[in-house]
């Protein structure tokens, strides 16, 4: 139920209560007044009748007295209140009656001593008894009047008053409802709608500011509040965006820290393992080739011992950089630990991997030394072990173990060379260049001793 309807009903009920009480009092007074008029009128008519019939009663012309009452009987519509009239002699004999059957019966018409008349009243009737006199008492007249018409009139007036009251109150209720709806409810409804829009996220909404009354002020305050909420929200969004950016950068950095080797800026062992396992799975599923190359920097301890650890670190950085520069985009270069590196080569069989390893070996031999000034003419080389994924049952550990064995074979064979793990039949035989490399390696290792 709308507030305007509630207000209208509430006020109507109050008016109804007040109107009912007021109306009841007014009706009561009106009824009392009409009753007094009724009694006065009938007192007068009985007195007049007593005077009129007195001469006929004195002459004992009872038929004339009866003729008067016959007129009342015959034209009852002119005397609607009259119920009964009886005229009695002093001895109590009825000499005329509205009901002639009572003629010559004896009735008692009491009138207190010293009074000329008496009245008796019930809810339905009013009875007047009066002496009929000329020079002396000739008898009495008793007339009974019905209050039916009076009561009916009161009832009609009461109904009309009640109807008028109900109609007025209902009309006032409707008017109140309409006025309240226009001045209050509709405007509050619009404000509620605007609040609903804000709840949905439409912060651009503005309530209509009508009038300078309380609701107008409320609308104004609402708009001010909405504006403030809008600004706070915008500021908050800006702060959130900034923080999100910082968080993303931090996450990126964390991720980088978790997956990258801090010294060489290539992937670390953990990242290599994860990536290698995934790549191995893909290769197994798609029956594609995959190779792993392990690289160990030759005589690195000697470098550290000779030039110091900082130079050693520089060497490792240079080795990593050269490996990265010579790896394909799809290859993954990682520091495997100490001076050891690993390269994951998806989509590469053993032949291609060996070729790539050889290319890297040559690059290391030629490119590392120029990058680390402290080395002077000391050439940096590395031993390579290459292993390829061949069987569906191969695990990463199997590949790494095979590559490791091959790498140590390169070490044992004189360092600075590429050795292909001889697990199974070789796809592509090593190229001529690798052989020359092996020769070169042998020379280098003889000088280096490690």
């Amino acid at each position: 139920m709308q507030i305007s309807t509630k207000v209208a009903f509430a006020i109507s009920l109050i008016m109804l209560g007040a109107g009912t009480v007021g109306g009841a009092v007014a009706l009561q007074q009106g009824e009392q007044s009409r009753l007094e008029d009724f009694k006065t009128a009938h007192d007068d008519s009985v007195e007049l009748l007593a005077v009129s019939v007195a001469p006929a009663v004195a002459e004992e012309r009872f038929e004339r007295v009866q003729a008067v009452l016959d007129n009342v009987h015959n034209f009852k519509e002119r005397f609607p209140d009259v119920v009964d009239i009886e005229i009695v002699r002093p001895d109590g004999r009825v000499i005329a009656s509205l009901d002639p059957v009572r003629y010559n019966t004896v009735i008692d018409v009491p009138i207190p001593q010293g009074q000329s008349f008496a009245v008796a009243e019930t809810k339905e009737t009013y009875t007047v008894s009066r002496y009929i006199k000329l020079k002396h008492s000739l008898g009495k007249i008793r007339a009974t009047f019905s209050k039916e018409h009076l009561n009916a009139r009161t009832e009609v007036l009461m109904k009309q008053a009640l109807m008028l009251l109900l109609f007025s109150i209902s009309a006032a209720g409707v008017a109140l409802h309409l006025v309240h709806r226009r001045l209050v409810a509709k405007r509050l409804s619009r404000l509620a709608k605007a609040a609903g829009e804000i709840e949905k996220g439409n912060l651009a909404i503005e309530a209509r500011e009508e009038g300078s009354d309380e609701i107008g002020e409320l609308a104004h305050s609402f708009n001010t509040m909405a504006k403030a909420v809008r600004h706070y929200t915008e500021d908050l969004e800006s702060i959130i965006a900034e923080r999100t950016e910082e968080l993303q950068a931090a996450n990126k950095r964390l991720e980088q820290l978790a997956t990258t080797d801090q010294l060489t800026d290539v992937w670390n062992r953990r990242y290599f393992d994860e990536s290698a396992r995934r790549a191995l799975e893909v290769a197994r599923r798609n029956e594609r080739p995959l190779s792993v190359v392990l690289v160990d920097t030759d005589k690195f301890k000697s470098v550290n011992d000779t030039f110091g650890h900082p130079v050693g670190d520089e060497v490792l950085k240079a080795v990593a950089a050269v490996l990265k520069e010579n790896a394909r985009k799809s290859d993954l270069v990682a520091r495997f630990g100490g001076e050891e590196f690993a390269i994951l080569m998806p989509e590469s069989g053993i032949g291609l991997a060996a070729q790539a390893a050889e290319r890297m070996r040559e690059a290391l031999e030629s490119d590392v030394r120029p990058r680390v000034d402290a080395l002077g003419d000391r050439v940096i080389t590395a031993s390579f072990g290459v292993a390829a994924f061949e069987n569906a049952s191969d695990r990463l550990e199997d590949l790494l173990s095979a590559a490791d064995v091959a790498m140590y074979e390169s070490k044992e064979s004189g360092r600075n060379r590429v050795t292909v793990a001889n697990r199974h039949e070789v796809e592509d035989p090593p190229s001529a260049s690798s052989l020359s490399g092996e020769i070169a390696l042998e020379k280098g290792m003889a000088a280096d001793g490690g």
Binding site: Q2, D70, V101, Y103
Partner: protein, 330 residues
Amino acid sequence: MGRITRRSWLGHLGLATVSLSPLAGLLGCSEPIQANKEKTDALMALDPQGAVPPVIRIGITPSTGEDTGARLQPLVDYLERAFGVTAEGVTAEGYDHLAVLVQEQAVEIGIFSPLSYVKALEKNVEAVAIATATRNGSPTYLGYLVANREKHGERLPLLDEFRGKRVALVNKSSTSGYLYPRAMLHERGIDPDVFFGEQLFAKNHKDALRMVRDGEADLAAAASSFVDSVQIADEPEGQVGEREGHSDFVVVAKTRHIPLDCVVVHKRLQRDLGMTLRKALEALVHDPVANEKLGQTWGLDGFVRPMRLGYQEIARVYQDAQQRAEKKTG
């Protein structure tokens, strides 16, 4: 917003219903009044497309010793003079014959005694009462039980004093001379067949009075009109004459009011003509010439709206009397 609008309409509808219901009540108050007015006018039973005869024939019954034509003439003259209708009197052989004349539309107006009107209705005569005659301005009269004043001096004797005495009644078809006095006695707890020592029947009202005067009966039943303004004179054979200021009779008991003669028309008479005739009869009281002449010839002096309740009372009393009679004989 749509929801809100629906709600407000509901509110309006509710309030409007509350508002209009008293209005409907106010309108409802006035409607039955109009309906009642139409229902209470018996002439609405007449046919609006009914017959309009060139001559209005007025049927009455003959009275003993009176010239029926002369009795009716003042009314015929009045209708012709005042309302431009052609009228004539028709004398029926009796009330039963008059009922037949009305039923067969051989007369347009029938003037019945009260009891004969009731009997005619019982025979389903299609008659509608349009007026009741008045005497001395009254459309009713009373039935009296009277005693000889000389026998009681100035004393008003009580009815109980006539237990075991002789009562003179008019014939059994007389309303005020038989039916109503007996009903009055029953109403007062008296069975006339047990109460009185002897029940005598007179030729008519005057004869009943004469019987009391002459000592042939102790009590007589008679219409009030025969007692109130006339009295038995000393003429031979009970002729009556007026004597102011004194009566030879003392009224011991009175009956209820009895309506006077009833004027009826047939239901197929045109309604407008019926209305005109009723207006004419009601206006007769204002025509001094007709009023006086009718009073002289018939003892009537005008007409008023029919005393329907009075005739219903006669019917009730008549039925009660018949039932009592049947009980006694059966």
